[in-house]
Symmetry: C2
Subunit: 517 residues, 2 copies
Amino acid sequence: MVIWNPSSWLPQNHIRRVSTSHQTQLRRLHQKQMAGSIGMMLRDLNLETVESLPEDFDPTTLINDPLPPIANDASHINGVKSINGKEKPREIVLGRNVHTTCLEVTEPDADDEVTGEREAYMASVLARYRKSLLERTKHHLGYPYNLDFDYGALSQLQHFSINNLGDPFIESNYGVHSRQFEVGVLDWFARLWELEKNEYWGYITNCGTEGNLHGILVGREVFPDGILYASCESHYSIFKAARMYRMDCEKVNTLVSGEIDCEDFKAKLCLHKDKPAIINVNIGTTVKGAVDDLDLVIKTLEETGFTHDRFYIHCDGALFGLMMPFVKLAPKVSFKKPIGSVSVSGHKFVGCPMPCGVQITRLEHINALSRNVEYLASRDATIMGSRNGHAPLFLWYTLNRKGYRGFQKEVQKCLRNAHYLKGRLTSAGIGAMLNELSSTVVFERPQDEEFTRKWQLACQGSIAHVVVMPNITIDKLDDFVNELIEKRAIWYENGKLQSPCVASDIGKSNCLCVLHK
Amino acid sequence: MVIWNPSSWLPQNHIRRVSTSHQTQLRRLHQKQMAGSIGMMLRDLNLETVESLPEDFDPTTLINDPLPPIANDASHINGVKSINGKEKPREIVLGRNVHTTCLEVTEPDADDEVTGEREAYMASVLARYRKSLLERTKHHLGYPYNLDFDYGALSQLQHFSINNLGDPFIESNYGVHSRQFEVGVLDWFARLWELEKNEYWGYITNCGTEGNLHGILVGREVFPDGILYASCESHYSIFKAARMYRMDCEKVNTLVSGEIDCEDFKAKLCLHKDKPAIINVNIGTTVKGAVDDLDLVIKTLEETGFTHDRFYIHCDGALFGLMMPFVKLAPKVSFKKPIGSVSVSGHKFVGCPMPCGVQITRLEHINALSRNVEYLASRDATIMGSRNGHAPLFLWYTLNRKGYRGFQKEVQKCLRNAHYLKGRLTSAGIGAMLNELSSTVVFERPQDEEFTRKWQLACQGSIAHVVVMPNITIDKLDDFVNELIEKRAIWYENGKLQSPCVASDIGKSNCLCVLHK
């Protein structure tokens, strides 16, 4: 039997804050315990008796009332009216703190466990919330999220704290992980984008932004003095990266379709011929779903005198990175071309309860990066440290069930339905644009915030869009268009008022205003 | 009735890649459809008939076989033996791609839906995986994750794609979010760290690293030419931030306890008196659980001539940020002191299926940051764009159930059990260190990788640690210590061989090697 030696209670290490009286207390505790046995100690330390701590048990003495004072109510700050007041039109103003809606966390009453009141209250909050989610999910059209998934088979795993901390290819001692699933998913994507299994490195990210942050960082580490080029319709995370990483950045103009304008790209390249180029190529822009012409971007670089060892291309494939491979006419996203990295979101075309993404890059680039990282004693080449281990399970499950062929079918369905939507809009006299390789239908911004919010349309300036995802059926599109037509009759007083011109956003040929129809 | 106008099928916008033959195809399709009605169109476009697409349906023609060629098997690359071969001791080598374990994603067979074979296969994989997670969860000691949670009440929400994209205080049009829960959780933490409701800004992050990346970024935006100071025992994400953000960084020495050495800090500060200071303060270091003396850090800054408008302090409270407020002797983490931000992990002391964290900063700092961000047309002041909407639900649920008082009890239990563990180790002649305010017990690294892996101990150099979390019972600690004692008898041949000296890691007074006992 192992004998318990209570002398170990005395802090022997260097702790500067141990006061003499504290040491005396510990000694008294020690003396009390000398008389005891392991059995007694265990009883003393038992979980059930944790409330009956000896008074002089220190340094772990706890403060008497742990409740911090309540701060002032701030629901009326910043000049915005409270929840129940009449709401102002929302503005995007950063750096504010407005409690438009807040489900306060409250301290349990002492008798809550007996009365069960707290459990009942929380269950009712969650039930109401679930109902609102059902309604909101039903009317969603504007964001590129596939809301159609059933992960019931995985709900048994929600009880585990699954964490793929650090690198997917370096196991940590933490055993509750899902790396075996993650690597399977990464292999699938590497194959999709034509990079050999032993030549890629990648990981499952928290969202598209993390993929972009990683891709641009790898580019910067490969070319520390490189200039970042990105079209002005690139996702805002690209410009966030430029600022975070202190990189010089050239914004390149776009065509009306939303694609990068390679004439302007060439002109911008010529300004910095002495510096390597790091280029973000959009495989589907956020607003118009425009696919930058990767081949033309590469040709432009070559023509301007940039050899392959002087540029790094990151492909932001947030949504379309998973759709393009299944469309014949699409410029192929492939590592057989001189590209450095591709990222795609997992919660978009695949569908997932929480945001996630996939980032694939060349192993050689990570070798370059990680030499630097090792010097800093970092354990990983990812942006985040702890990483959600459930996301790989969701992706693995869907990829296995659908396969490449299943995705092909869904891409087909989305492109057809997007064409259907554009057809219905234009036939109703509503100007609309649909890029050839896209399922994003762009049209005039509805005049009514409530309508926009009901259908959860994403808006920018005077345009809005619907992204046709696998869960968007023809029936839903019909409901939407019919309601839009009804509403427009009210907004424009049955044609007495003119609908706005959106030619500058979607092109004259797509605009159906008085001037352009 | 709205008349369907198939002319809208013709792409009218500027698309450069449309070939003439493609346009001809579209026109043919158009002519075919002219004869039809909406009813026919709907049938044609019906989900069920998606396979029977007309041959000339273009631009959405899909490639015939979407399966990319299979890449080479890479399980033997990089000189590491395969799964079944004898394993080498693992090294932390970044930039590799080793498929030690991989659950391949395979393409479904055509008849899978009929035979149900695929479903059966996947169910068996998941059942085996669940069993391994149960076993791994049972034997986990080394990482600061509370594995004891029950979110059964929330499983009904797993069917929704919940995404709090962007800022918690700026609603997006995407309706399937949980901002009302997120703001409730943030309020709770702002109250804990004593910042008024209308003076804080914050968000729920993906992990502790994201909190640190955000805190250091805010510091850099407040002081663009500031020098980053962090003790060498800071989490590696701090040094990752320095590299990412291109900041000058001074590593400060630590005391043997792991705390920042303020003598050295003062010396380093004096080297850069002309530049503002951005300081990372550890509220619990990763390896030794040492709590930097926040008050001494502030005093050192003041004594060196740094006024409050010339420094920014970020508190990395990954684990202890939520424990310290409940310990009387602990230096208080409070925004009443001149600190800029505090971050804490949500999956650590609270416990959560996936990693998450909370970041709280002063609203005034975010105002400074967001002025710059707006110029870049970014929609948010967070690091990530899309954000996991389930994490706020988990945190809201636990905070509501436990309350400040519940956490206080758990902190009490952890500190007691950590003292118990240290006592059992030293009484068995195993040198161990436990910082006063910590539940992290540090001791000699076990000689046997298998043992380390079984108990999932985190190791660094010649030391290992156990972090006593709420789910670690006395029984589990007893099992662990008893097995360690048995194993040591084998490793050190019942005392014939000497156990290693760890005085340089945990201090002479804690070491129990031949020389120091």
